[in-house]
């Protein structure tokens, strides 16, 4: 298999990510990895639910007074939109439109950074209220759950940026198509996890 072979929109396969054996393996392996990641987050969620609002006697913090939904709602919208833009990017990859894909990925990355900025702002705000990492079991489990998600966002951003830079001059090949594809899968996964965080941590925390 010649990895550097150049394709045109006419010869470009329908599922460029799954043409080579390497691509097939990456595709499957990454899905399996996400299966494991699901269990990882499930463990974090379970722990959070067990420790929510638990702290030293007389703790003043609780989910209904701490969280503010408007900010988190904006964050949710931003991340959901970024998932949509990454779908556009993949659509352009299928159509062998490299510029289109890079553009939509760039937008995805910008939205990702916006989300990250708001999250840092939010964490900073809590810390200033005295809700620090070591303040209680509640705070530890909250920051660990949401922070692990945040770390995934950071990794996702780094990964997508690296891919965009690396391939900027090279264009599409059957070698990098699976990489783009799995990166976008990862981004969707991050988005899905956030939907659960929004529901379980924030919504159920304030109104539940």
């Amino acid at each position: 298999m010649d990895f550097n072979k150049k394709y045109t929109p006419q010869t470009w396969p329908d599922h460029p990510e799954q043409v080579t054996l390497e691509g097939k393996n990456k595709f499957l392996g990454f899905w399996l990895f996400l299966g494991g990641e699901t269990v990882l987050f499930a463990s974090l969620f379970a722990t959070y639910l067990a420790l929510k609002n638990k702290g030293p006697s007389g703790m003043e913090f609780s989910t209904d007074t701490l969280f503010e939904l408007p900010l988190v709602f904006i964050m949710t919208m931003i991340l959901l939109t970024s998932s949509l833009t990454s779908v556009y990017a993949m659509y352009h990859m299928k159509n062998h439109n490299f510029r289109g894909m890079q553009t939509w990925l760039a937008i995805t990355v910008l939205l990702g950074f916006a989300f990250l900025g708001l999250e840092i702002y939010e964490f900073n705000h809590y810390v200033h209220l005295g809700f620090t990492y070591g303040q209680s079991a509640f705070s530890s489990s909250f920051f660990t759950l949401v922070g692990t998600h945040g770390l995934h966002v950071v990794i996702g951003l780094g990964w997508i940026i690296l891919l965009m830079l690396r391939n900027a001059k090279r264009g599409f090949s059957l070698y990098n198509a699976p990489k783009y594809y799995t990166a976008s899968l990862y981004w969707h996964f991050i988005d899905v996890v956030w939907v659960f965080i929004f529901t379980v941590v924030y919504l159920m925390g304030v109104v539940g």
Binding site: L28, G29, E37, V39, T144, R166
Partner: protein, 620 residues
Amino acid sequence: MSSIAKKKGFGATIWDYLTTVDHKKIAVMYLAAGGLFFVIGGIEAMLIRIQLAQPDNDFVSAGLFNEIITMHGTTMIFLAAMPILFGFMNAVMPLQIGARDVAFPFLNALGFWLFLFGGIFLNLSWFMGGAPDAGWTSYASLSLASPGHGIDFYALGLQIAGAGTYIGGINFLVTIINMRAPGMTYMRMPLFTWTTFVASALILFAFPPLTIGLFFLILDRMFGGNFFDHTMGGNTIIWEHLFWIFGHPEVYILILPAFGIFSEIFALFSRKRLFGYSSMVFATVLIGFLGFMVWAHHMFTVGLGPTANAIFAVATMAIAVPTGMKIFNWLLTIWGGSIKVTTPMLYALGFIPSFVAGGVTGIMQAAAPLDYQLHDSYFIVAHFHYVIVGGVVLAILAAVHLYWPLMFNQMLSEKLGKWTFWFFFIGFHLTFFIQHFLGLMGMPRRVFTFGANQGWDLFNLISSIGAAFMAVGVIILVVNIIITVVKNVPAGNDPWEDGRTLEWAIPQPVPFYNFKQTPLVRGLDTFWIEKQEGNKVGMTYAEPLSDIHMPNNSFIPFVMTLGLFIAAFGALYHGEKDWAIPVLVLGIAITVGSMAVRSIKDDHGFHIHKEDLMNDKGGK
């Protein structure tokens, strides 16, 4: 790239192993490193039995005793049994399904180095202020209270090693799903491949909870978290749940490949098709599935309540059904076979009664009310050594003899092999059978000594004598290996003469590209079928001879691991030394940086050309 065998210098050989991505070489490294840890764990076991050989002994202090039992359990499970099994999976599974290599050769190397460095990190604790001392289960209420850095070494070391295992699990899964040779349908896969498959699936879902548990432990001990500290609202039981949600599947991660090895042995040396193949597959999958539903049987006495205890008791007992199916299938495979009692077969025959005994005590413990009596006594110690030594370790020793000619093209001495077996087998029963009674007489596990007036002297002494027998067995094995390696007599193709599955069809020594042409699989026991039909060239092939694509060697897995290893020291000394945070950052930068290099660089591997292949008679 020519494939003609060359003599390499010592330095070149080392470099070759440091950078290799070949599943066969990685297998050898797993076996060597796992074997070394097995010996270390065995020495720790001997120290335990020396201390307990007589009452009121002061051979080791109470604190040191705790460190020794903790390191013994942790080493044996994570650094000996699993890596050695991984070694066999690497060596055998790709050949069994006729694959060129595993799906991700690069990650395969990465997984190995992570395991090795995690293991080294854990063992460095001995020299850097003391080993972990809260038991291999490291219950949070104990481990948070443990002074010094022992527990930190445990948490960080297992985190690194665990990442390696997780990567390995995904790799095997993808290999088996995507890279089977033409004709190798799922229901033609040899049992060892099947059990590798299910064990890998268990790894995929069982290791993340452990990762999270260890992560919490690291955060609590080193970074000011409060997960397990009840004065801050934490809950120590969370650790127990996370640990056992991992821990019970883990015991099946160990035993399923052992079942696979024995299934191969029974069929091979009874010279008969495995009895009830499809029910074996079904039982394997069912055991894997049920394995996730029973973790709370380790927590009967925690106080989850009668309803929870009852549910978990019934679920636990249910596992005995598929396990029993397997036992009967093996017996019926031997039944009427033309049996050859080789060393591997001896182990297989010894395995059946030993493992059944362990299963029976398991069922006893599964009865929650009875477990209130048995829990944390020597009865438990007897149970899990019957299943782990009587199952997993016997399988490993059997596989060392069985697959040695496949991996090294040499035959271990059958005579010494049988000596090893008898010493080990007798020693094993001598050591652990009597521990059931010690448990029933009330001796708690994990005590560093006992009084002369408690009536436990004789049984403990017998148990220690048994341990010495096992040690002799292992020493004979080491001697056997040394003699065989020095003599270096080629074993040749199909060394056991009755090979049934694909791995025995490959020429010896195994070429680094495996099968020259991908074989066509025409049924279960495909090599046997070919031999029955008088095929003299080995296999029927699915493709004409053509160029073979191979991955390049890479030093990056090693460097990535080194980064994490360095970072772990930073985390360990966090809040204590000024250099801790810079070292942590440096280590992570090394890892992330080398990952970036890997993904930016073009690395398409190379081709072995048809002409070179035609001239190649094999050889590494």
